[in-house]
C-alpha cells in the first residue's frame, strides 16, 4: 500500500493511494502510517479520496494512527467517499476525528 506524504507549510498531507483499507492490508497500513507520522509535530491530514472501501479492521487501523499523533493534535481526515463516510458515521467514529470534504478545503481550514 502506497502512502504519499507531502508538506504544505506546517501541514503534513498523507494521501492513501489505494482503493481499499481492509482486513487483508490493515496491519501493513498501520505500519506505513507509523512511518508517515513518525516526525509529525503539527497538523496531519489523511487524504482518503481514493479509498472507496474500508472495513472494521481498516477503521481500527485509522484509530490506531490517531493514537500516534502528538498529544493535543487530532488526526484530520479528508475526502471520505460514501462507503467510507457511512462506516465512520455508523460507528460514531466521525465524532473523534476532524473531517473535511477534501484535502484542499482542509488546508484552508
Amino acid at each position: 500500500m502506497l502512502l504519499n506524504t507531502r508538506k504544505e507549510g506546517d501541514i503534513d498531507i498523507v494521501r492513501v493511494e489505494a482503493d481499499r483499507i481492509d482486513a487483508a492490508v490493515a496491519i501493513h497500513f498501520k505500519d506505513r502510517m507509523r512511518e508517515a507520522l513518525g516526525g509529525a509535530t503539527g497538523r496531519v491530514i489523511l487524504d482518503l479520496e481514493e479509498v472507496d472501501f474500508i472495513d472494521s479492521s481498516g477503521l481500527g487501523a485509522i484509530v490506531a494512527a490517531m493514537k500516534l499523533m502528538p498529544p493535543g493534535i487530532k488526526l484530520e481526515l479528508a475526502g471520505l467517499t460514501a462507503a467510507v463516510d457511512k462506516v465512520f458515521r455508523m460507528t460514531r467514529m466521525d465524532s473523534i476525528f476532524v473531517i473535511h470534504p477534501s484535502a484542499g478545503t482542509a488546508l484552508e481550514a
Binding site: 482486513a23 472494521s56 475526502g79 457511512k86 455508523m90 460507528t91 473523534i96
Partner: protein
Amino acid sequence: MIAERLEGDVFSIHGTVAAVPDAVTAALLEIRQHLVQDGTARAPHWEIVVAEVLNNIVEHAFENHLGGEITLRLDFRPAGLCASFRDNGHAMPGGMLPPSPTADLDVPRADLPEGGFGWQLIRGFARRIDYHRRDGCNHLELDIPLADPAAGMTDAERARRQARK
C-alpha cells in the same frame, strides 16, 4: 462464483470463498465486478456487511488459520439484499449472535477502541439477522435494505458522480 438473473427481479451471486483474508478481498472484488456488469446502481454498504460477516467467519469460526470454506449466496433485489452464509467452523459462543455494546468514545485518546466495530456495522445496516447452528454448520442470514443508491452519498460524491455522467 456464479452470477445470474432470476425471476422476480433478483440478481443472484453464489459460490464459495476460502476462509483467508486475501480470498475475502478477492471475493468482494469479484462480487463488485458482477454488480457492475449487471448495471444496476446499488447503495455501497452491501459490501461492508458482507465483508464484516466474512471477516468474522475467517477470524472466529476458523480462528484465522484452520482453513475452510464459506458458502455464500447473495440475492440482490431492488429493495435490498438477502445474504446467506454457511461455514463448518466453530459455532458462535453460546450458540447466539455476539453482543455489540456501544463503545464509550468519551475517553482519553489512548483508550479509544480499535476493534469491536464489525458487529456494530452489521447490526447497523441489516434489518434482520438470523443465526442457527445445524448439522455442524453455522448458518447466517441477513436482510440489508438498499433502497436508494444515492442515500448514503456525501454531497461531494454526488457532485463527482454527476460530473461523470
